[in-house]
């Protein structure tokens, strides 16, 4: 780190330099350090998951399976699914962006239970070790969904993976609990519920979903563990158990889990759209309440994963009817974001470029979701590559790209240095193009009938899969370039001032990188987070914070 130390007016060292040594990092209760540690961990696991994805795409380059044998392929896609879902996308946005930014935005010194925050990071690492141990022990081949009776009868280290997932669930619950109590109890004086930035609303909804859905995953994984270990017969068909009941248990968690993945992304996008167009967000109440309604309605709809799995016709109708209600709050959010651009002073900065790519990709993902929700089409499209393309568009195009946009937005605040912006703009375009090259052919090959999780496929799908494989490698390289210049920026980039994007919310009113306990004295709030004066030139506008 360059020597021009980033001490601010009271020349206190910032949190990066407050104390050095690996122990001071691993056992620090400072929410900013825990956020950076989560950042490093999730980035490593994302690279691991990404490599597996490239392995899968390489295998699918040719119609007949010749690179690796069927069993290894099955284990590869199972691990790609599990690592990406449990280790990358569920913790990434809430833990990295949430941990770092939430207390700063609230004007608090730290989260409500800092030791609990550190404990949930260590629990996350232990859970990750279990999952990676199951990978080393020859990995399991049940698919990340662990459907019984296959998962309870197959051999392989499924038990290790189940313990890993069980432990990771607790890390997610404890983070959710911490955030809810912090938002309730530690807001800056004057910050009423409707003066909070929208990222906090979506993090609040995410934590509520984490708290109310993850325990059901814990009990499901526990029952499956007992099923394999002792054979208590709950999901064992020969004893009268019903595999569909397992699917109900699993998807009651996993559908709200996809809202855990996407809700922070919505929060980040609402934040970025308003800051980078220097304009008050359009329909603040609409967006805030739609986050909460997504959290509630989101747990009513899990049956749309099981339309063709032997679920009764009545339940299919009920779940399909409810699924269409989940799409409405999302639509409100998207329309409000576009309306925010009207009469704004839009800065085409890298975060804003990623926002535009997010809007395009997430819209495609969302609309194909509506297609999959319609019953008569889902019978044909379920468990095909159409579904694979849909959830990659929504989770990778939506969740991960918004997370990357958030990283670009708060990078100067986290490390006090700016990344090369021109290169960032170019990579955001290559990410967008290579993403479409990878996943759009999957829509076509899926609707033509290529089932999911296939090691070999019928000849007629070959050229589409080859297109997807080429796209996958472009996407991989452009993401590596993004990682490269972000790291370079963090270490050698030019020093960034406290408020590079001219934002108003509280985290931009402390030095970047912020001092150990965030603020000198307690900031009080007298205005909303997006009250940009009309003719603002975008820099020193009236701030949400009344200096102490």
């Amino acid at each position: 780190m360059s020597d021009n130390s980033h001490t601010d007016a009271h020349n206190e060292p910032d949190y990066l330099r407050a104390s050095t040594g690996i122990k001071s990092w691993l056992f620090s209760v400072d929410h900013k350090r825990i956020g950076v540690m989560y950042l490093i961990a999730t980035t490593l696991f994302m690279m691991l998951g990404g490599l597996m994805a490239l392995g899968i795409r390489l295998e699918l380059f040719t119609a007949s399976g010749d690179l690796i044998d069927a069993d290894t392929y099955n284990r590869l896609f199972t691990l790609h699914g599990s690592v990406m879902v449990f280790l990358v996308i569920i913790p990434a946005a809430p833990a990295v962006i949430g941990n770092f930014v939430l207390p700063l935005m609230l004007g608090a010194k730290d989260v409500a239970f800092p030791r609990l925050n550190l404990a949930s990071f260590h629990i996350y690492m232990i859970g990750a070790i279990f999952l990676i141990a199951s990978m080393i022990l020859g990995s399991f081949d049940t698919g990340w969904t662990f459907y019984t009776p296959y998962s309870s009868t197959t051999n392989g280290p499924v038990a290790w993976a189940l313990t890993g997932v069980f432990i990771l669930g607790f890390s997610s619950i404890l983070t959710g609990l911490n955030f809810i109590v912090t938002i309730h109890k530690m807001r800056a004086p004057g910050m009423t519920w409707f003066r909070m930035p929208l990222l906090l609303w979506s993090l609040y909804a995410t934590s509520a979903v984490q708290l109310l859905a993850t325990p059901v995953l814990a009990i499901t994984v526990l029952l499956l563990f007992l099923e394999r270990l002792v054979g208590i017969g709950i999901f064992d068909p020969s004893l009268g158990g019903d595999p569909i009941l397992f699917q109900h248990f699993f998807w009651f968690y996993s559908h709200p889990a996809v809202y855990i993945m996407i809700l922070p992304a919505f929060g980040i996008i609402s934040e970025l759209v308003s800051v980078h167009s220097q304009r008050k967000i359009f329909g603040y109440k609409g967006i805030a309440l739609s986050s909460i309604s997504i959290a509630i309605v989101g747990s009513l709809v899990w049956g749309h994963h099981m339309f063709t799995s032997g679920q009764s016709i009545y339940a299919n109708l009920v779940f399909s009817f409810l699924t269409f209600f989940v799409a409405i709050p999302t639509a409100i959010k998207v329309f409000s974001w576009v309306a925010t651009l009207y009469r704004g002073n839009i800065q085409i900065t890298p975060p804003m470029m990623y926002v535009f790519t997010f809007m395009a990709l997430f819209m495609i993902g969302g609309l194909t979701g509506v297609t999959l929700g319609a019953l008569s089409l889902d019978v044909h499209l379920h468990d095909t590559y159409f579904v694979v393309a849909h959830f990659h568009y929504v989770m990778m195009g939506g969740g991960i790209l918004a997370y990357i946009a958030g990283l670009h937005h708060w990078w100067p605040k986290i490390f006090g240095r700016m990344y090369p912006q021109k290169l960032a703009r170019i990579t955001s375009i290559t990410v967008f193009l290579s993403f479409n090259l990878t996943f759009f052919p999957m829509f076509i090959v899926g609707s033509r009938g290529m089932p999911r999780r296939y090691y070999e496929y019928v000849e007629s799908f070959t050229w589409l899969n080859q297109l997807a494989t080429v796209g996958a490698f472009f996407l991989g390289t452009s993401l590596f370039v993004t990682l490269g210049y972000l790291i370079w920026g963090a270490i050698r980039g030019p020093a960034a001032d406290n408020n590079p994007w001219g934002a108003l919310s509280l985290e931009w009113h402390t030095s970047s990188p912020p001092i150990e306990h965030n603020f000198h004295g307690q900031p009080t709030v007298d205005a909303g987070p997006y009250d940009y004066p009309e003719e603002s030139s975008g820099t020193d506008s009236s701030s949400q914070w009344v200096p102490a």
Binding site: H184, M186, L212, G231, G240, G241
Partner: protein
């Protein structure tokens, strides 16, 4: 208004403004944890309801094999322990630490009695061969009796585990009382452990009629 006007007792964390804020944050956190525990047990109650709907006759036959008297006794034991726990929490709010310790020992005693009765029931069942899943070999139940006992052992086993965790917490609370860290100002920890114990009792209140009194 930058510095905190009210002087803060030593034990309040630096990032809280007042003791009251820390107390309300701690109890809100505990209530969120209870909300999550309710959902944790909801999975098992869901399995119970699902399989009761599918195999009503197995459930009737299974319930007959369970020992109702011991179940009822256990309910009374747990209710009494809930009472003594509530009195212990009340005593901490009044600051009478000696009364707190007495009540806590009473609650721990009742918890241990509950576990003893539970182990008597379990040994009787294991002896009779009423084990979950395939190992089910007792007579009087057609083939999927193992399913009923699978859920029975899962539910009561998980509940017993939570009772054991509760006993550990109370032991820790007694240790802190002896060290004088608990007084009428710092009663939140006792209140939280009380809430946890009442939740354990709550789960048993629903578990007892569903499993034992299925008639």
């Amino acid at each position: 208004m930058s510095e905190d006007s009210v002087e803060r007792p030593a034990w309040v964390e630096p990032f809280f403004h007042s003791a009251d804020q820390q107390r309300s944050a701690a109890s809100l956190g505990m209530w969120l944890f209870l909300g999550q525990e309710i959902l944790f047990f909801s999975g098992l109650f869901m399995a119970y309801i699902a399989y009761r709907w599918m195999y009503p006759d197995t459930w009737l036959a299974g319930a007959d094999l369970l020992n109702k008297q011991l179940g009822a006794l256990n309910t009374v034991v747990l209710l009494t322990s809930s009472l003594t726990m509530a009195l212990a929490v009340r005593a901490t709010e009044l600051g009478e630490i000696s009364k707190v310790i007495r009540h806590l020992w009473a609650t721990i005693g009742l918890g241990v009695v509950f576990l003893v009765i539970k182990s008597v029931e379990y040994s009787h069942k294991i002896h009779e061969g009423m084990l979950p899943g395939f190992h089910f070999s007792s007579d009087g139940l057609e083939n999927n009796g193992g399913l009923f006992f699978g859920i029975y052992f899962a539910l009561t086993g998980l509940h017993a585990l939570h009772v054991i965790i509760g006993l550990g917490l109370m032991g820790w609370l007694i240790a802190r009382c002896k060290k004088g860290l608990v007084n009428e100002e710092r009663y939140v920890l006792a209140e939280n452990i009380g809430l946890y114990w009442h939740l354990v009792d709550l789960v048993w209140i629903f578990l007892f009629p569903m499993l034992y009194l299925v008639r």
